[in-house]
């Protein structure tokens, strides 16, 4: 079982975490076309590589960001979400 490091609780077994999807920028709903919106809603980039993802340490309900190389199955780093990141 893999180990993931929660920015608050430290390294824990992956079974304590839940995946929240890739962090993607929402297009402005007021101005974007239906097609652009549908692309945001339904399409995901599954190609292997470095992904920036939402993860939650479920026992403590801590949401954070994990950078993961899905080609190598390696967690590169984890940190709490800030608008700047």
């Amino acid at each position: 079982m893999k180990i993931m490091t929660c920015p608050v609780n430290g390294p824990r077994a992956i079974s304590e975490f839940s995946y929240g999807g890739e962090i993607r920028t929402m297009p402005d709903p007021a101005t974007c076309s239906d097609d652009a919106w549908a692309d945001y809603i339904f399409n995901r980039n599954g190609s292997p590589g470095v992904k920036c993802e939402w993860w939650c340490h479920t026992p403590s309900n801590t949401w954070f960001v994990a950078e993961r190389d899905t080609a190598r199955d390696v967690i590169l780093r984890t940190y709490l979400y800030t608008v700047a990141s």
Binding site: M1, I3, I41, Y81
Partner: protein, 944 residues
């Protein structure tokens, strides 16, 4: 036969053990394996092979002898070479029809040409003959017998942690463990044998240092069953499994000695040289009197002294190599053993029970040179690395022409290899290689610095690249598990299965119980030669966990899926609750009444609510609280209705969509103060919705905070025409507060939140109290309601009551594609809000024709026969036009009522549609307006 006491022997001669094999009595000693005790008693046939039922004996004595599988009482497929002997054991051989001595399946050996390679594929190709072959194979195959009366075993599981895990306690593993511990790391050393030392059979002087070291924990009789991510290795002990988490893993698992391939190389008495050494050194058993040693490396010559010491006459040394090194030649000369360099065994000759002679020839010669009489053949022609853990860890391996074996090329972070598995075979070099790997592993964990150790390369290859002799009559076995001969593989390749993965599946090579530990390397060499490529180009097949078979009782255990119970659980239990799972919760489906059917119980509960008073535990609902100046704005963003304008003291139904506009949850939002809301979610959605809302707030950073009170609060719904008067005697709250309002006060002396709700269609109030008081409040309500015939009601009664009101259940009346409009929730959607989750998607579909519509329906009053069930399809002109989501018999209306999705053009009130039952017959139904019961909602607003 048993030798005089050996310095390294594992047996305790003062403790004799008696056992039975195939009905006959034998004796051995404590410390014996079943195979060694039988060998000491002169038994050479331990079992029969899987396909041809050929007699087989000891091959490896290293827990890979799958032709010596035995049934030990209720335990099937015990490996005799590894099973410790115990007093009173009763063993029988598997793969026999009748007994080992009179096996009715022995004739199969003569039918080999009717059992070609890929036999299963060929046999099962014809559909017509499939049942015939299936019956025959089921009768003929199957190894051991499962005894269903075997007592249930509970095997403990535990979690372990260490810095450096060393797998294998041979010379390199011992050396690695010591080096890592010396640098300060906490080390765990595991070995599948009962004693440390590996091929030194306990003679290594490192053992004392390792066992005395305070930072080394030793697990014997334990094997590392597999490698899982981030250095997680299950250690399988005889009566326990330890899930070991290490920070670095050193694989010092050694190598499997490989058999040579020649005609009748499977006769009992023909074994690996290392097997003969194990029998001699560990068990003080002389495996044969007069042997021929088949050699191709220095290991054969190192083992020679053991054979001589055991009083074995070595009749000849047959060496596959043309050039035998001088020191090895002079060793033979000193011992007066004739050497046949550049020779091979072409064929072994059987006495009926075991080998009686070998026919030898110069390698490549057309005709055999000479026969040598012997009762044993010891083979030492090469090794294959015990690399499954390395492969599982993601190691890139390469074929090293210098040692003719696969060695690690690129190791993953924190994984190290040393010793024979790393291509280092010379005893002194293995110690150095272990020191190097152990030091590197400790340094990887932050202990000390990596020592520079230079490990000398092998002077000559310990493995022969082609220990295979073809024979026109075959029976030169490559895979003893599956009885595959050289020609079988050659035929498979000819038939086009010339890729290692294809050849494996087609021929089943390496797919037997030993998983190719003695066959994969030779099979790979055959394929390489046939296709004109190198073993490195051919590559290996995937080595999946487990390394050895693991008992099911080691793997089975308690589920770790938690089950939640509300504080009133014991009350439900006492009231005869029949339980049903709801998400992670257990909820009463209904309360059983003696001598009443399920349906009658549920109808009784429904009647109590409609005519008197009922109480249901709704504590499984998700219960959340949000506070802060922007709490209202947060709720406006996550629900489709408006909450900024909600008055303090009022509640509002709340529907949540995901970003694609699909309905995912519902509940009730109660405003307790300007900046303070209390709200509920569905039972199954509770954990998920709280998590998702937390994510939104992490992203939005609004000035508000969420608290999950699901476990902290108990909740119950008191409903029915008598509910108001019953509750009035228990609370300080003025119960004339309006429908859909919320009040805080006390119930039965406990602080409570009262929400006026109408889910079941009668005057009702949800009472939320701190969980620790839940049972007390429940008791007080039940007691106060007793004069009015109060009944607790379960989920089934509630489902019917709400169906009569046309209220939907998210997840039952909606699915993963349902929009609010389809679920008849248009009234709740406030598109004029600034922003809410799902809004943009709902805008996009607003102008498009609606796919389906949820409607209420009734069966005709005179409906007879079976009623539709949930998920039965609506059929229009032979096409699917919808489905039933809820249906029940309504006692109040004396009709079957339900909810269904139908095409939008079929959704007008009064339209008739047909529903197809499981048996294909059609039932007609009418679209009707909901609520079915009390359409103006008068009953839930005013008490009767």
């Amino acid at each position: 036969m048993r030798l005089p006491p050996q310095s390294s022997e594992w047996i305790t001669r003062s403790k004799p053990l008696r056992f039975r094999f195939e009905g006959r009595a034998y004796a051995g000693f404590e410390g014996d394996s079943v195979a060694s005790a039988l060998a000491a008693s002169g038994v050479s046939v331990l079992g029969h092979s899987f396909k041809y039922h050929r007699p087989r004996g000891i091959l490896s004595a290293a827990n890979h002898d799958v032709n010596a599988l035995m049934q030990a009482g209720g335990t099937p497929n015990v490996r005799a070479d590894a099973m410790p002997l115990a007093e009173g054991m009763a063993l029988t051989a598997v793969n026999t029809f009748g007994t080992l001595e009179r096996d009715a399946g022995r004739f199969l050996s003569g039918f080999a040409r009717f059992l070609p390679v890929g036999f299963y594929y060929k046999a099962f190709h014809s559909k017509r003959l499939f049942p015939l072959w299936e019956r025959m194979f089921r009768a003929m195959t199957g190894l051991g017998r499962v005894d269903f009366a075997t007592p249930r075993l509970r095997t403990p599981k535990r979690y372990g942690f260490c810095e450096v895990l060393v797998v294998g306690a041979g010379p390199s593993g011992l050396s690695a463990a010591l080096a890592a511990a010396e640098q300060g790391a906490e080390v765990v050393l595991v070995d599948e044998q009962a004693r440390l030392g590996g091929s030194t059979h306990g003679a290594s002087d490192l053992i004392d240092q390792v066992t005395a070291h305070p930072r080394i924990r030793v697990f014997t009789e334990t094997f590392a069953a597999g490698y899982y991510a981030d250095h997680w290795v299950p250690l399988v002990e005889p009566n326990r499994i330890t899930k070991m988490r290490a920070r670095a893993v050193v694989v010092a698992a050694g190598a499997y000695e490989q058999p040579a391939v020649f005609r009748y190389n499977d006769l009992p008495g023909i074994m690996l040289a290392s097997a003969a050494q194990r029998l001699i050194r560990r068990y003080a058993v002389r495996p044969a009197q007069r042997v021929v040693v088949l050699a191709a490396n220095a290991d054969a010559y190192r083992a020679l002294q053991d054979f001589i010491d055991a009083g074995i006459e070595v009749a000849a040394m047959i060496d596959l190599r043309d050039a035998v090194p001088a020191d090895q030649q002079s060793m033979l000369a000193a011992l007066h053993i004739p050497l046949h360099a550049g020779h091979c065994i072409v064929e072994a000759i059987s006495s009926g029970k075991r080998v009686a002679a070998v026919r030898i020839a110069a390698v490549g010669a057309a005709t055999p040179a000479t026969n040598i009489a012997c009762d044993g053949v010891f083979m030492s022609v090469g090794w294959a690395p015990a690399a499954p853990l390395l492969y599982q860890a993601g190691t890139k391996m390469r074929y090293d022409e210098g040692v003719h074996q696969f060695v690690p090329d690129t190791l993953p972070d924190g994984v190290f290899a040393c010793g024979r598995v790393n291509g280092i075979h010379t005893p002194a070099a293995r110690l150095l290689d272990g020191e190097r790997a152990g030091s590197a592993a400790a340094a990887h964990c932050g202990f000390g610095t990596m020592k520079a150790v230079s490990v000398p390369a092998e002077a000559e290859s310990p493995t022969h690249p082609w220990p295979i002799v073809s024979h026109p009559k075959g029976k030169n076995f490559i895979d003893f598990d599956e009885d595959l001969q050289l020609a079988d593989l050659e035929n498979a390749i000819q038939e086009g299965f010339d890729n290692i993965e294809l050849m494996k599946r087609y021929s089943t090579v390496g797919m037997g119980p030993s998983q190719g530990k003695h066959s994969n390397m030779n099979a790979l060499r055959v394929l390489a030669r046939a296709t004109g490529s190198t073993p490195g180009e051919v590559g290996t097949t995937t080595a999946r966990p487990f390394f050895h078979p693991v008992l099911m009782s080691h793997l089975a255990g308690r589920g770790f899926t938690p089950e939640r119970r509300t504080p009133m659980h014991p009350r439900h239990e006492a009231a005869g609750a029949v339980w049903m799972p709801a998400g992670v919760w257990q909820r009463p489906e209904y309360y059983a009444v003696a001598w009443q059917s399920r349906a009658a119980c549920i109808e009784g509960e429904v009647l109590a609510v409609r005519q008197g008073i009922g109480l249901i535990d709704v504590g499984t609902l998700g219960k959340l609280e949000i506070r802060g100046p922007q709490a209202a704005e947060f709720l406006e963003r996550v629900y489709i209705s408006k909450y900024v304008g909600l008055k303090v003291g009022m509640t509002r139904y709340a529907v949540m969509c995901d970003e694609s506009g699909v309905v995912i949850d519902d509940g009730v939002v109660a405003r307790l103060a300007d900046d303070h809301f209390y709200f509920t979610t569905t039972t199954s959605g509770a954990a998920l919705i709280y998590r998702e809302l937390s994510r939104w707030n992490t992203l939005w950073k609004l000035d508000c905070g969420l608290v999950n009170l699901t476990g902290a609060m108990a909740a119950m719904n008191l409903a029915g025409p008598k509910a108001k008067s019953v509750l009035a005697g228990l609370t300080d709250v003025d119960l004339s507060f309006p429908y859909l309002a919320v009040r805080e006060g006390s119930v039965a002396g406990v602080p409570a939140r009262l929400l006026r709700v109408g889910f079941v269609g009668e005057w009702g109030v949800e009472i939320h109290v701190p969980a620790e008081h839940g049972a007390a409040v429940w008791d007080a309500l039940m007691e106060a309601g007793k004069p009015h015939g109060i009944r607790p009601f379960g989920v089934e009664a509630q489902r019917l009551l709400r169906l009569e009101k046309g209220h939907i259940i998210i997840g039952q009346d909606t699915d993963g594609l349902t929009t609010p409009g389809e679920a008849a929730l248009d009234w709740a959607v406030k598109m004029d809000k600034a922003l809410f989750v799902g809004q943009r998607s709902l805008q996009a579909i607003a102008g498009k024709p609606r796919r389906q519509q949820l409607i209420g329906f009734m069966l005709p009053a005179d409906h007879a026969g079976d009623a539709p069930k949930e998920c039965h399809l609506v059929i229009e002109n032979g096409e699917i036009a919808g489905r039933v989501t809820s249906i029940a018999w309504s006692p109040a209306l004396a009709r079957h009522i339900g909810l269904a999705y139908v095409r939008s053009d079929m959704a007008t009130e009064g339209q008739v549609f047909s529903i197809r039952l499981s048996d294909g017959s059609m039932v007609m139904a009418n679209v009707v307006k909901t609520p079915f019961y009390d359409p103006d909602n008068l009953r839930q607003k005013e008490p009767a």
